[in-house]
């Protein structure tokens, strides 16, 4: 594991520095540049790193809970549930502070994710592809409800724009909640062994004396809170929680004590890379990071799916 971290860390630091340097204003040693750096560039880079770390961690925890490699918060209804909570706040309490919007989004995403996991328990055949398919359908149903309600409330455009990952509006004072997601990822690391064990299944966990229900609920809360925070703050980045854990799993396996630091670092790196691409491809304009990640992520995901298939046969 250490060799991978030593390889990844300098790369991510380099990407972070490039991320700071990319933009319309070329930085110089003067007060104006300093302000731009402090108000816009550093917050944006930090927001990217925090979102990258926490969404990757949320992805791998979701995979442990569902015991399936092909799920992540955006394919289990977690993102949609958080969005639904957000929409309710926009309709009924538009003046509420960000904190309350966040709170409601998080509660809504806990409920939505719990419901998904309950549905999973009722599914007799839990083979590889069935679980993500159910998740995508479930997310689709909630998404349809959101679209219907948002359309009626004339919020359709703003709600989907809000949810889609976009870091161009990040400024100092408008991203700090993401530290909460970063902090949760760190706490999750201290429970890595228990989460790995829960991923081996309920019965193996009970046999080894783990309080399975408690760990399960803890994982559920971490995933939902991270998703809630990112939905409210910067929007989510599709495929991230799927692609990063799967690649790291191929390299160092699924023992989270070993793989989680690498997942976190790689998640940050991939997000930084996608954001830099999103900013330079159509320079001086930006394309949404979700679009770049969507393309890169879906290609990697397809590779993983086909690989898994040939592996299984």
């Amino acid at each position: 594991m250490h060799k991978y971290i030593y390889a990844a860390l300098p790369l991510v630091i380099a990407l972070a520095i490039i991320s700071l340097l990319v933009g319309n204003h070329s930085l110089q040693f003067n007060a104006e540049s300093w302000d731009i750096l402090m108000i816009s560039r550093i917050p944006r880079t930090l927001a990217l790193i925090l979102a990258g770390v926490s969404l990757s961690v949320a992805g791998v925890i979701m995979q442990q809970l569902a015991r399936n490699k092909f799920v992540e918060p955006s394919t289990t209804g977690t993102v949609e549930s958080a969005t639904f909570g957000m929409l309710m706040m926009l309709i009924f309490f538009p003046e509420a502070s960000v904190f309350y919007k966040l709170l409601v989004a998080c509660i809504s995403s806990v409920i939505g994710t719990a419901l998904f996991l309950l549905i999973l328990r009722k599914v007799p055949l839990r083979s590889g592809y069935v679980v993500p398919l159910i998740g995508i359908m479930y997310a689709g149903v909630i998404g349809a409800i959101i679209t219907f309600v948002a359309y009626r409330a004339e919020l359709l455009q703003s709600i989907w724009v809000w949810v889609q990952g976009d870091f161009s509006m990040i400024l100092r004072g408008r991203y700090e909640l993401l530290w909460l997601a970063g902090g949760l990822s760190l706490i999750a690391y201290f429970t890595a062994d228990k989460l790995t064990l829960a991923g081996l299944g309920k019965q193996v966990s009970i046999n080894l004396g783990l309080n399975y229900t408690l760990v399960f609920v803890w994982g559920l809360v971490v995933v939902s809170l991270i998703t809630g925070v990112t939905v409210v703050n910067s929007g989510v980045i599709p495929f991230l929680g799927l692609v990063v854990p799967n690649i790291i799993s191929l390299l160092v396996g699924d023992n989270l004590r070993r793989s989680l630091p690498l997942i976190a670092i790689s998640g940050a790196g991939l997000v930084l890379l996608c954001d830099i691409l999103a900013r330079v491809i159509n320079y001086p304009y930006e394309i949404p990071i979700a679009t770049v990640m969507g393309i890169i992520g879906s290609v990697i995901f397809l590779y993983l799916l086909l690989r898994e298939d040939s592996h299984a046969n």
Partner: protein, 252 residues
């Protein structure tokens, strides 16, 4: 001593287990035999608190296991189920290390590693230590699972068809290992077995189940008779004496 009291399990209207009253001794090898669907695996799940009974109870030294601290219980009894769908990519060493989880809670000590290496050596898995379990053959993976529960070092060890996927050499090796654990380390090993000859050769006691009930609980000598075996399995079976041992040539 583990005891079951009027243990019942129902799925809807079908009765899987009916009023099971059993005592598992503190040491020795006990084999549970019987046809498919007799309730053997369900019984093991209930006794090892993986499933709640519809009625009745299981006690360990007199206390209901559902009321005991689960973390402490994991140092006293271990179970390996017949099917283990583990999707995680863990190395053999990591997997066996999780067998020590009740003791180290994620921070294995040198003493834990001693146990881990002991179990890995016993199952002849040294060369696969760093291999991922999903990349092993069925038999190698089964041995890794057995190493995991052996490392758990419990007084009671429940194994549901431990010889699944194993070749002759490893089957014999595992039965000898379990026999030794029972005789020398005074452990109680309870096995669900399909091969009655293996069961008879290595057990102190055989429990026969049919239609969710215990129909015999006796020594191997008394179970290995034409009449008893034919009754258990609903087919004509003949026991022969070979080298002074009772053997049932059921495959002929």
């Amino acid at each position: 001593m583990i005891q079951t009291h009027q243990l019942c399990l129902n799925y809807g209207s079908s009765q899987i287990l009916k009023d099971i009253n059993l005592t598992f001794k503190e040491s020795g090898v006990t084999s549970i035999i019987g046809p498919n669907g007799a309730g053997k695996s369900s019984l093991l799940s209930l006794v090892c608190r993986l499933q709640k009974p519809s009625s009745g109870s299981v006690t360990l030294h007199g206390s209901n296991i559902l009321q005991l601290d689960n973390a402490k219980l994991a140092k006293q009894l271990a179970i390996l189920r017949q099917e283990n769908h583990i999707v995680s990519r863990l190395t053999v060493e990591d997997l066996v290390c999780f067998g020590r989880f009740p003791y180290h809670q994620g921070r294995p000590s040198a003493a834990d590693f001693e146990q881990i290496n002991w179990a890995i050596e016993l199952m002849e898995l040294e060369e696969f230590k760093q291999r991922y379990i999903n990349e092993l053959s069925g038999g190698q993976r089964q041995r890794a699972y057995i190493a995991m529960v052996l490392a758990q070092q419990t007084d009671y060890l429940f194994l549901d068809e431990p010889l699944n996927n194993l070749d002759m050499k490893h089957s014999v090796n595992i039965m000898k290992t379990l026999r030794k654990a029972a005789s020398e380390m005074k452990k109680s090993v309870i096995l669900v077995m399909h091969d009655i000859n293996f069961a008879a050769s290595y057990s102190d006691e055989i429990i026969a189940m049919k239609h969710g009930e215990i129909i015999h609980q006796d020594t191997p000598e008394n179970i290995m008779t034409n009449e008893v075996l034919s009754n258990i399995y609903d087919m004509p079976l003949k026991v022969e004496q070979i080298h002074g041992k009772s053997v049932c040539l059921y495959y002929l």
